[in-house]
């Protein structure tokens, strides 16, 4: 499977996305804008998992841990008065740090991919237990009461603040554009990374780690780097989430949340990053729809969806559709993308 390069088409997509992000708030009612914002935040989370899983083959069952840690970090710092952009950055760093520690233990200990999946799941469970047990009012960091299962509330929303400049408050439209913009930037950077030398080595690690090592590459720091980056993006998404709802609670560490992230990438397709976005949007929309028509079938459908995709559509939607599009008469070059 020959990796293609970045085609001109992709730049066109990015441009179209920028236009969409800037323009949609002007077309849609305010509620839809608010709703789409949280969808985009989840797309960012899905992309973060795809960075680790799709690019480097590192399946993590606990990306919710990095997401949640980012959210809590943002909440704690923002409630304590730190400027919200800095708090958001700190959320990303917190996610990256946790991922880095786990990655160090896993990759430098040379343990298997299954162990990584188990370990990330275990850590998420531990975090759920620990954060859930902070119900007593004495659990606080500075002015931020951790709040146990109630979580932290009244978290300041993100505002554009820089030293020596006046703070610009972000309304729903502004926040939407910010989140959309961040998503585009992350996807673009991810795609550039895929075809950069580092990304190509990640691809070989994904395909055959032993052979890559025999070629002389140190796989450990590379896996650690991408895993930490993935955790950082997840943490960033967590911070945005806390800002969106002005609250964060231990549910971000739940098994349900972890499963959701995996389902998004599974459905959408691994490796392309666009698949993660599509998968997150589709599954979120489906969940919303199922809930709105008043059925209890949401979890049931999601579960079956997972099974069906693993059995039948293992690559996910976007790669499969791309592969099938080869049969369309006006496609002339049958090259398959990674």
């Amino acid at each position: 499977m020959a990796p293609a390069g970045l085609s001109r088409a992709e730049f066109a997509i990015w441009l179209a996305a920028v236009v969409a992000v800037v323009g949609l708030p002007l077309l849609l009612p305010i509620f839809s804008v608010v709703q789409l914002t949280v969808f985009l935040i989840f797309c960012l989370l899905a992309v973060s998992l795809d960075l680790a899983w799709g690019l480097a083959g590192l399946l993590s069952f606990g990306h919710a841990a990095f997401f949640g840690v980012g959210g809590y970090a943002y909440g704690i710092l923002a409630l304590n008065g730190l400027a919200t952009p800095a708090a958001l950055l700190a959320g990303g760093i917190a996610g990256a740090l946790l991922a880095g520690i786990l990655g160090y233990v896993a990759f430098y200990g040379r343990v298997s991919t299954i162990f990584l999946a188990v370990m990330t799941l275990t850590v998420t469970l531990i975090l759920l237990q620990v954060m859930g047990s902070t119900a007593d009012p004495s659990y606080r960091i500075g002015a931020a009461v951790l709040g146990g299962y109630n979580g932290m509330t009244n978290i300041p929303s993100l505002a554009l603040a820089a030293p020596f400049l006046p703070t610009i408050e972000l309304g729903p439209a502004g926040f939407f554009r910010l989140v959309g913009g961040l998503l585009i930037v992350v996807v673009a950077l991810g795609r550039l990374l895929t075809f950069a030398p580092f990304g190509r080595i990640l691809a070989t690690i994904r395909e055959n780690e032993q052979r890559t090592e025999l070629l002389g590459y140190d796989v450990r720091w590379r896996k650690l780097a991408i895993f930490a980056a993935s955790g950082g993006v997840a943490g960033l998404a967590g911070g945005l989430f806390a800002s969106w709802g002005s609250f964060v609670n231990p549910e971000v560490f739940s098994l349900g949340q972890s499963a959701q992230v995996v389902i998004w990438v599974l459905v959408g397709g691994r490796g392309l990053l666009y698949g993660a976005v599509v998968g997150a949007l589709l599954v979120q929309a489906l969940t919303q729809y199922l809930g709105a028509i008043g059925t209890a079938y949401t979890a049931f459908v999601l579960g079956l969806l997972m099974v069906a995709f693993v059995l039948a559509l293992r690559e996910g939607l976007v790669p499969t559709l791309l592969r099938l599009s080869r049969f369309l008469p006006w496609r002339n070059a049958p090259a398959r993308s990674c």
Partner: protein, 412 residues
């Protein structure tokens, strides 16, 4: 190739977003005269054991208000949403009801976590919100009214009574989350006032089903009374294991949470009989308002409805208090309605006569002590009225300091 791929990508991305968008856009039109009102509760998911009676009560209350003339001469149009026991969906539905449906009032939330997910949205977009469920007290928010019973209103009566009847040595078992912790703190306050002695307190995570170590420690401590603040399906196991270990005769159990999830229906009489609880409302209450209410409820929802819970009555209270305030204010504008609510509203509820305390935005409740009987129900022992929500009143005065949007946690 490149053009098609771009088009395909765009198509996919666009379809995804549009699909997502269209799910959310578009509501059927509002009949000109109707007032939209919103409800966010759980019809599905684990919390629905509390949610389903509350949803029924919501429907029942709104229909009753409409049948007796509506509000300001107009009918209410109820928009009920199911939050699937998911706090993020609570937040999303709250935003939808406030921004898109433009409801006159938002009612709902069951767990405190769900309320705290909704409150920032309410504050952000300036909507009126009623939280109609038992909780740990302390919410002090100009836009929020909490009609449920709070620890002071239950424990303040229960603890002195239990000490007199059973003895002064108490051991607390509380669910390990906010409600459990804060209630346990109040247990200590009231126990001290009553001259009792706390032998120990434990916080049990909500997903624990194995109470062996707890039962061992209880046997070591030998209290007169076990104060149970356990919550949820998993904690039912405690009562079962307690009975299996033969402790039923040796220690009394009193609780401020038993019964909310119909534990008395699930457990066998040998396991639950004799347990003491206290709530503002029981289906068995013997007053004319309740007799009529229960009859109407059974007529509407069936005579073999499992049990009409305290939460259902709280919901009924909430809707009627709001309706009364709107009529008093003569307008739907939230500021005017809040002013009317703060002028003092009284209501004849199936639980007894209740009033809304203006300063704390909480309700002054009746309290009834009851014992679990051998027919999966309760026998009322004693009744008290006008029990004020002192835990919140002590710290919250929204008339003197109106600009507050927080939840106080008690400092002891």
């Amino acid at each position: 190739m490149s053009i098609l791929r771009r088009e395909m990508m765009q198509g996919l991305l666009g379809t995804g977003m549009i699909a997502a968008g269209t799910m959310l856009l578009g509501r059927d039109g509002l009949s000109a005269d109707e007032i939209p009102v919103g409800s966010i509760l759980d019809a599905t998911g684990p919390i629905n054991i509390y949610g389903l009676p509350m949803i029924d009560a919501t429907r029942f209350a709104v229909d009753h208000i409409n049948a007796t003339g509506g509000v300001l001469g107009r009918k209410l149009r109820l928009i009920q949403t199911d939050c699937q026991s998911n706090n993020q969906i609570y937040a999303q539905n709250a935003v939808k009801l406030i921004l898109e449906d433009k409801v006159a009032v938002l009612m709902g939330g069951i767990t405190s976590a769900s309320r705290e997910a909704v409150r920032p949205m309410v504050d952000k977009y300036g909507a009126l919100y009623f939280y109609n469920e038992q909780y740990e007290g302390g919410v002090c928010d100009k836009l929020v009214f909490c009609t449920g019973v709070t620890p002071a209103q239950q424990l303040g009566v229960l603890i002195p009574w239990a000490k007199k009847k059973y003895g002064k040595k108490v051991y607390t078992l509380a669910a390990d989350y906010n409600y459990g912790h804060i209630s346990a703190d109040w247990v200590k306050v009231y126990l001290k006032e009553a001259g009792g002695e706390l032998l120990g307190e434990e916080f049990i995570p909500l997903d624990v089903v194995n109470f062996d170590s707890v039962i061992q420690r209880l046997q070591t401590a030998k209290p007169d009374v076990v104060m149970s603040l356990l919550v949820g399906g998993n904690h039912i196991a405690f009562y079962r294991q307690f009975a299996a270990a033969g402790l039923k005769g040796r220690m009394a159990i009193v609780s401020a949470t038993f019964g909310l999830g119909n534990e008395q229906v699930v457990l066998r009489p040998e396991e639950a009989q004799g347990l003491i609880v206290i709530y503002p409302y029981f289906q068995e209450l013997d007053n004319p308002v309740n007799k009529e209410w229960v009859a109407a409820w059974h007529k509407r929802f069936g005579a073999n409805y499992p049990y009409i819970t305290d939460s259902a009555c709280t919901v009924w209270n909430g809707w009627h208090i709001w309706a009364a305030a709107v009529d008093k204010a003569g307008s739907l504008d939230s500021k005017a309605v809040i002013a009317a609510l703060e002028s003092g509203i009284a209501f004849d509820s199936p639980e007894g006569h209740i009033t809304l305390d203006p300063k704390s935005h909480h309700v002054v409740h009746s309290a009834h002590l009851a014992k679990v009987n051998d027919k999966h129900g309760f026998d009322i022992l004693e009744s008290f009225s006008n029990i004020a929500p002192v835990d919140t009143m002590k710290v919250c005065d929204l008339i003197a300091n109106p600009n507050q949007h927080k939840q106080y946690t008690p400092k002891f």
